[in-house]
């Protein structure tokens, strides 16, 4: 069964980018420019829209064969690749995107062939599904929990670690009293915003730790 692993959905969408030699800068560069400016933290469109565990947008220019002897092959078009690991069923997810980040979707996909716009809801969902490829193997390191459950678990882990650190050595009665108060307070806390719980790190990681 492609695309589903427990409650997590693996979505892959390939949308051909408009090839217009009169467009300056070209449509693919305009997408690259827009993507390069997106936040990767709380303000990321995929943190604002519900249900995304992780998502990636890539502009695929062409295929390059690395090896010997080299053989030359080309794609018919440049593509925008959208990969997302998300909660629940596909229709609900796509509607959620259109409900919350229509401006971002339009700004990115308007450079793609045949994109109808997010305002035309049914056409939008049909378009995305028409561009979908089956996903057979994907990263699903979320223990079959929803985004909200995962955020709540992270919040609980951090809060409990802090509680233990500040209550080491307390006598049992105090500890129980404080823990009951802490547990009630924790339960009442709002779920943290997606993208807000990572460390603030300037380090850019990559193949060469760059």
């Amino acid at each position: 069964m492609p695309n589903k692993n427990g409650s997590v959905y693996g979505l892959t969408i390939l949308s051909p980018i408009i090839d217009d030699d009169k467009a300056t800068p070209s449509h693919d560069l305009q997408i690259r420019d827009y993507l390069a400016r997106l936040s990767t933290r709380e303000d990321s469109p995929f943190a604002v829209a519900p249900g995304t565990h992780l998502a990636r947008l890539v502009v695929l220019d062409d295929v390059i064969y690395v090896g010997m002897p080299a053989c030359e092959e080309h794609l018919k078009s440049k593509y925008l690749i959208f990969e997302s690991n998300c909660d629940g069923d596909l229709d609900g997810y796509l509607h959620g995107l259109a409900d919350t980040i229509a401006d971002h979707l339009d700004a990115i996909w308007k450079h793609c062939v045949g994109y109808p716009g997010a305002a035309n809801r049914q056409a939008f969902v049909d378009y995305m599904k028409a561009c979908q490829l089956n996903t057979t193997f994907y990263f699903a390191a979320v223990n079959d929990k929803s985004v909200e459950e995962t955020l709540r678990a992270l919040q609980t882990k951090t809060a409990v670690a802090d509680f233990i650190a500040t209550h080491q050595g307390a006598d049992p009665a105090t500890l129980q009293r404080e823990f009951i108060r802490f547990a009630a307070e924790l339960k009442a806390r709002p779920i943290p915003r997606p993208g807000s719980m990572g460390p603030l790190r300037d380090i850019k990681t990559g193949g060469h730790n760059e």
Binding site: A161, K204, N209
Partner: protein
Amino acid sequence: MSKLNATDIQGFVLRGYNLPVARYLFLHFESAPRARSLIARLLAHVTTGQRWDGSKPKITVNIAFTHRGLVHLELPDATLLSFPVEFQQGMKHRSEILGDCGVNAPERWEAIWREDRVHAWLGINALTPDALDARCSAMVSDIEETGGAIVLGSQDAAAVVIDGKPTTKEHFGYTDGFGNPDYLGVERSSQPGQGKLMPNGSWAPLATGELLLGYADEAGEIPVGPVPHLLASNGTFMVYRKLHQNVATFRGFLERQAAAYAGGKEKLAAKFIGRWRDGTPIELAPDHPDPSIAQDPNRNTNFTYGADAEGTRCPIGAHIRRVHPRDAFGFNGRLINRRRITRRGLPYGRFAAEGDPVSDTEDRGVIFMALNASISRQFEFVQQQWVQYGNDAHLGNDKDPLMGNHGGHGRFVVQGDLSRANPPLICSHLPDFVELRGGDYFFLPSITALGMIAMGLVDPR
């Protein structure tokens, strides 16, 4: 691959000299021809990896270059551009990748490392301070006579002497220097636990190419090195870091945390590093130090963490468990065997025995020198992922308790069990126990390559 040509490899690469005093001279080249003639003159004194067979020298000399130094030696552009990017950039430029920020930021380094002027490292190890002084002054006259270089500065280092005997202790009081890997072809008295862990539980030497350029590494690839091959082969890269130790901060923190720890101060100190201060692995002797283990080469590095998945003996975040996870990650060690480094180095500054008054401002620490075939894949990865981060060890954002750049916000979890003497403890608000004072990345060429550099024979075509 059976046996290395040890006479073509600098001795510093193949063995820890175990000589008690050292001085590192930092040179700046002004004219390429004069610098080359200086190297030609030094070449005769460079200590090779040749076996000593009972007649251990009283003095050793080794040499290494920064990329800037090789530029000033006027190596061909095609050669200079073929070095790995991180070596071309130098350590200062890599500070973000390494987490060298806050108190460790380059702006706070010693002037010699801020100024981008160091071209070469000349490492002299000796049996006695007198021998060291004599050799160094002869060398400095050589340098002045040839006009081959300016000596920008020097760094003295020495084994900590206790009761008149040089030891392998460092300033926090731990016995150091257990963890160097074995490599195929390197002749040395190998011991179990120092190479890579095999599926049957035995230990085997790592591929030569993890240490030396020109040989296959653990992936079966020849490490990235400069062209021509002859310049790279039998050489390696060295990371030099001057690490100041805040001994007063360390002692005060340990004292305060131990007050709330039923296991006692020495056990807590052992939990930080994974070894009791005498070197006994806490994994093997969780309750007390055991000299019969610490001094037995068949036992003192011979252990794994598989039976201690919860970290109740050796905490999961303890220093030695982080930087050499042994069997921790599965996949037959494939996630570990390409991240090993060889450490050389000595403490500097006056040793303050336990109980002696100390202050953080006194100049003491350790000169950390790491050798590896790929600085980015080996040293930088270990520093970034295993020292300054905790994800691989399932410790979230926690850093190495002793080496981490904590800025007062660090946390270290000592896992425990239900016994009274081994309770869990969470140490919070970890300060910076260690501060980086500078350093750089160096290329340590083979003897052949030194000759090529000295004679202007480096030809990438």
